[in-house]
Symmetry: C2
Subunit: 134 residues, 2 copies
DNA sequence: ATATAATATTGTAATCATTACAAATTTACA
DNA sequence: TGTAAATTTGTAATGATTACAATATTATAT
């Protein structure tokens, strides 16, 4: 997917494809590390010196409202962002702090939903030790 | 389970059963609302005027280290605490903010664990609308 | 093309949950 | 009982996130 594809996607979702939003979105799509707002800022700062931290938060928020990005709340002290809005699980290594994706079979969790509750989103988190840190 | 049972349980887990810790633990066991640190503080303050907010954090931390309490990180802005350390899922109503427990069948998630990852804890979160708010 | 209104960016300041720290208190143990 | 260790507690610091207002950019109508 090239930049104009991404721009089109933002437009389809009803938000303007500004350079800032495109840069943040592209970063999230090409770096599947689930970066924090600060990590995105540090990474993009050299290339876009005008960016402010607030711009990162604003862009991420716009992308989340558009349904293109989701927040991963596995870390109590910081929010991580994920360019893949489809349902999948996350592992967090308690040693190195890295986040990993894993596949989630469709419908696996459906039987767990309590009577009367309407689910808008679901998350599965594993915390533990990754292969490298064991 | 009465207070002396709870005290014994703290002792077994290697932490001193101080009045503050017992009050926090008892509150979490009798109020399954997954309160925040602030909510616990507000609730216990009248009865224990000497309590400080820091005491709540300290007590909760001691209880977590002892494995009697766990933190629920479903809410990006605040941590919620849970007196049930056994694996179970959590629903969060986006309207009223309440958290609900649900059962989690043993072993359901085991097939999802990525190759080489050692799981210390697992969480399942649903976000959506509860029965009352629909 | 231009003017005007709506939207987005950005720097600074405020907020607020959480943590650090140190003094005072309580408890365990010799 | 005395002394060392652990705990509580109030205040101050931290740090991620949000609020806000001024500036800049973009869309739309004329």
């Amino acid at each position: 997917m090239n930049l104009s594809d991404q721009a089109r996607r933002l437009q389809e979702r009803g938000i303007r494809p500004t350079p800032q939003r495109l840069a943040v979105y592209d970063y999230l799509l090409t770096h599947r590390t689930h970066p924090t707002a600060d990590a995105i800022f540090e990474a993009l700062s050299p290339q876009y010196p005008s960016f402010s931290r607030t711009t990162i938060y604003n862009s991420v928020k716009a992308l989340m409202d558009a349904g293109l990005v989701r927040v991963v709340t596995i870390d109590p002290s910081e929010q991580h962002f994920d360019g893949d809005p489809l349902d999948h699980g996350h592992c967090r290594c308690e040693q190195c702090g890295r986040l990993f994706d894993f596949e989630m079979p469709d419908g696996l969790l459906a039987p767990l939903i309590p009577e009367g509750f309407t689910v808008n989103r679901q998350d599965i988190f594993f915390s533990g030790l990754c292969q490298d840190c064991r």
